[in-house]
Each structure stands twice: as C-alpha cells, then as structure tokens.
C-alpha cells in the first residue's frame, strides 16, 4: 500500500487530521488499534471507570497496556474516536496564560516548565473550527477572547447549577456554563441529548455526544479517499537515510504489513506516540526518531484533581441528570497567591453508584456494614461534588520509556511510566481544594468533606500530554511550532504529546484544534 498520508490513531487528534487531509484531496490510511464501537455494543459496565480494563472498549487484549513503574497497568482506551468516544465532553479552550507558564511563574526547581512556542492568538481560529466541526454547546469564554460564538446553545443549568452559581457569587467569582461537546439541539445530523445519567465513561446511547468517531472520522471516510483500518497496531516508522519518513509498519489481522507514505501523522496519544518514536530507533536515529536531544517520552503530565463534596440543603433537588457539569468558574486558573497556576472549578458528572461508594463517601463512614449502607442511601441523592483539573508542573523525570524486559504479544517492549507529581503541583492542589470547599460552604452545603482518594500519584490516568513537546529550538523539544518533528519535514504529531503544558482545563479541544492546524500544514505540503 502506498498513500499520501498515514495517520496513526483515530482519536481526538488523528480523526481530525485524517479528515483535513482527506478533504484536501489526499489519500489517507487511518490506523486504529481498537475497533469501531457502536453504542449498542457498550456493555455499560459500571465497574469500567475504576481503572481496570473496560470490557469491549479498552485496548484489545492483543495490545498490552502500559505499566506504571511498580506494575500497575494504565488504562488506555482503544477504539475509533479514542477518548472522545466515552469522554465527559468538556471542550475547553486553554487560558492565554496557559501558553506562557514559565514567563508568568518562573521555572520551579526540578521542573521543566516552559512557554509554548505559540500563543492563544495563534490557536484561536483553530479553536473556532474545532468547536464548529465537533459541535460544542456553550455560552461564553470570559477568560479569553473569541472570534465566533459557540455553534450550540448551552445545556440548561438546572437547580444545582443555580445553587452553586449563587454560592460563587457570594465569593465574588463569576460563573458560566461549561462548554460541552454535546448536542443541546439536533446538530450534525444527530439528535439532541436526552439528559440520561450515563455520560462519562460510556458511549452515548443516543449519539448526541460529539467525538472524533461521529464527526471527523465519518467525514474522512465519506470522501472516498480515507481507508480506516481497525485492529491495526503501528510498530515502526520507516525513514530513509535523509531523515524523511517513508511510511509505517503495522500489524493487522495477525499479519505484518507496511504502508508507504509521503507524510506520516502520529496521533496515538502521549504514551503511544512517544513509544512509537522510541521503537523506531535505527542506525540513523539510535535513540529513536526525534530524540536527538532526549526529550521523547519526558515531561509526561496530566491533571491532578482536588475534589470536594457536600450535602445539598433541603429544597435544592438534585435530579442527577446528565451531562452533569453545569456551572464553572475560571477565577482560580491563574493569579492564585503563592502557587503556580491553578485550575477551572466546576461541578461534576453524575456519579455511578459504584464510583460514589468507592471515591465519594466521607472519610469517617465505615467501609462496610449497616452504617455504610445507611450513608449510601442518605448521601447519594443529596450530595454534590465540585472538582478542578489542576495543571501540573512538568518534570523531565516524569516519562515514558520502553520496558527493559516486558514485551507485548507482538514482541515489542511495553511502555513504562515513571515519575511523581511535582511538589509545586501539590501546593496548587491544596490551594484549589480550599477554594472548592469555600465554594460549597458559600453555597450552603453542610456538611462538606473531601474524599479519601483523589489522586494516583503519577499524574492521573487520563489527559496524558507533554511527551513530545513542541519548541522553537530543536534542543528544547521534539516537534516544531507547527507540530512537525524537528529534523523530519514530513513527520507530524497531532495529539496531546506536543502540549508544552496542559492547561487548567480538560485538553481535548486543544488537541483537536492543534490537529486541525497541523494537518492543514501537512496537506499544504502534499498538495
């Protein structure tokens, strides 16, 4: 097979990149290790969001999952659409200061905090395209200028949102409706959201949740120029002696295959893209492709989430209807005294019962027995939780490497994750947790509590970013400001691995916006 472009991964970035390339008239081979999952195939297993394998949705058994140092497996979704198949739909733009963290806060000891080589203004037009092509419902973006309104009206805020907005106002914080990639009315040929409670961690039963799987990928395939191959694991990027990518080797249907390409776009996410670059070492690139300055796999980051819970006062009904997040404030993303950065505060998705039992009960409630059952009955329907994705201070020691011994079924080294959350991140988390509790108190919640488990140490288990960060100077990163791998003019990256920092927001819209921009450059180079 020989095509204009091979795109590796059909998630938030890869689907968008394939769509841009195919609609520009390029032949595209889109490789996805997972399957095309329909809502009817979703087992709707409530055990799934607990970090274990997601039956039918996790990476196929034949594709081993990465390991955190110490042996805990890391959950990575493998499906057309990637994380956007089951995401919580929060489609945030980053704050302008998220692109200039080092300039604003300095570089904490032991960290690799840096500015992006591009700013918010450069990305703004691509945010507009992403919002309109994906379908995002929202009302405003008070922390950053925008050149066009959201394509969809926001989802109704509801009584809990109104109650929390009043509490925030008493704190002096402005609130607004979180932008969600969900059809508040029919859009893109699909129905409006029915407000069920199975959103985060589930496929949408009515296809009203917007993701790469039902927007960009179908558009790409509809051109007749994009071939989607599922169950395909990329094993190596092929290069010629001059550093140009010449194609991709991959496994599909138990067969080793190879595709030639004029352009290669990597979009496997921050773990698998770094792994593939490292796996592609050769005599020309002994440390892996793009790794001349030892940045591939480093600066791994996600978000650390402080959470606070409280009991709603009588008279505030909690209908527990989806999508869930209905009110947010960006009063604490930046400018917090004595700490680096911060995060957006919002209420959370409807909790499944098992998630509530595991992560949300007050610390003084026994883990079993009559008192536990009573607490579940009394607290589940009357409690509310607020949380914040605190952006992490990256370090070079938080990284993806190839495991020295363990191999996947294809015989390739497993990715291994190592590192720890930077102390400055933990200080910010403590500050933001205090703001979350203050929000609940001001709203009238009584009592309030923080759950016993809110972090897993090394980042969290989603929103991975930073392992192939972009930089103007090749010595400082892996990709140039357009997403092209330094020194490889036809090899691009279109996923969260290019993020220099990960913002105090859910990052999927930024991944999509960057992918649209990068793929447009790639298409221009081809055509």
């Amino acid at each position: 097979v020989s095509v204009d472009a091979v795109v590796v991964g059909a998630g938030a970035g890869g689907g968008a990149a394939a769509c841009v390339l195919a609609e520009a008239g390029c032949s595209v081979l889109l490789l996805e290790r997972g399957d095309l999952i329909r809502a009817r195939d979703d087992p709707r297993d409530h055990l799934a969001p607990l970090g274990g394998p997601i039956p039918g949705l996790d990476a196929p058994a034949s594709h081993a999952r990465p390991l955190v140092a110490g042996g805990r497996p890391w959950s990575l979704l493998g499906a057309v659409g990637g994380g956007t198949l089951v995401w919580g739909m929060q489609a945030w733009r980053f704050h302008p200061d998220d692109f200039r963290m080092a300039s604003r806060y300095g570089v904490p000891a032991g960290s690799s905090l840096a500015d992006w080589p591009i700013g918010y203004d450069e990305l703004e037009p691509w945010y507009v395209r992403a919002e309109h092509q994906l379908g995002v419902a929202g009302d405003e973006t008070p922390y950053a200028p925008r050149s066009a309104p959201y394509p969809l009206e926001p989802i109704e805020r509801g009584p809990v949102g109104d109650w929390l907005a009043s509490g925030a106002a008493r704190c002096g914080w402005a609130t607004f409706t979180p932008p969600l990639a969900v059809n508040s009315t029919a859009y893109g040929g699909r129905r409006a959201c029915v407000r069920c409670s199975e959103c985060l961690g589930f496929t949408c039963p009515t296809d009203a949740k917007n993701g790469s799987h039902n927007t960009f990928v179908p558009r790409a395939v509809a051109t007749g120029l994009c071939t989607l191959v599922t169950g395909a694991q990329a094993t190596r990027i092929k290069t010629d002696g001059r550093g140009r990518a010449s194609g991709v080797d991959y496994l599909a249907g138990g067969q080793r295959r190879s595709a030639g390409a004029r352009v290669v776009v990597l979009a496997g996410g921050a773990i698998e893209t770094a792994r593939l670059l490292l796996l592609s070492a050769s005599r020309h690139h002994r440390a892996g492709i793009g790794n001349e300055h030892d940045h591939v796999g480093r600066h791994l980051q996600g978000h650390t989430y402080p959470v606070a819970l409280g009991l709603l006062p009588p008279g505030v009904p909690n209908p527990n209807r989806g999508p869930g997040p209905s009110v947010a404030t960006t009063a604490h993303n930046h400018g917090n005294p004595g700490v680096v950065g911060g995060g957006m505060l919002a209420n959370d998705f409807v909790k499944t019962p098992v998630t509530f039992w595991r992560m949300c009960l007050p610390p003084d409630v026994p883990r079993w027995g009559l008192a536990n059952k009573r607490a579940m009955r009394e607290l589940y329907g009357r409690s509310i939780d607020v949380k914040a994705p605190v952006q992490e201070v990256p370090t070079p020691e938080n990284r993806v490497t190839l495991h020295a011994r363990l191999r996947d079924p294809a015989g390739l080294p497993l990715p291994e994750l190592a590192g720890a959350v930077h102390p400055e991140t933990l200080r910010t988390v403590e500050f933001v947790r205090g703001r979350l509790l203050a929000w609940l108190h001001a709203s009238g919640a009584e009592p309030t509590w923080v759950p016993t488990e809110y972090s897993r140490g090394l980042s969290d288990w989603f929103h991975q970013a930073g392992t192939c960060r972009m930089s103007a100077d090749p010595r400082d990163g892996v990709a140039d400001p357009s997403g092209r791998v330094h020194g490889h003019d036809n090899l691009f990256i279109a996923d969260g691995s290019v993020h220099v920092t990960n913002g105090g927001f859910n990052p999927a819209l930024t991944i999509t916006a960057l992918a649209l921009r990068t793929a447009t450059d790639a298409a221009t180079a081809l055509t």
């Binding site: 055990l47 607990l50 199975e198 527990n320 536990n372």
Partner: protein, 67 residues
Amino acid sequence: VRARFPGVEALLRRLSAFPSLDAALHALGEGGDDAFAALVEIVHAAYYADPRSWASIGYTTHLPGRP
C-alpha cells in the same frame, strides 16, 4: 468475586474458624486485615455495579428500558 479476588477461598476458610459470621467480620475489620479490606472493596463494587442495587440509593439512568 472469585475471578477478581483469587484469595477469597483462603479468606472463607479463615471465616469458618469463627463462632459466628458477625464476629468474624468484625474481627477482620477491626484487625485491619488487608485481605478482608480487598474483599470488601470487590464485593461493594460488584454490588453497586449491579442495577438491582440502584433503586436502594435512588440512582436511575433516565433511559427507557434501563433501570
């Protein structure tokens, strides 16, 4: 539970040594028994993941044909 917790058989054998189930559970819980804590975690996960338990705490999916 057996599939997710291979140690369950050994734990059940230990329980049989107690004069009553209630006494056994409290002894294991108060003793900080790691295997018991793991079993509690798994059993609760299985219980609250089961749609038959949802009505007891007021959870509903708001989906036709689904609890």
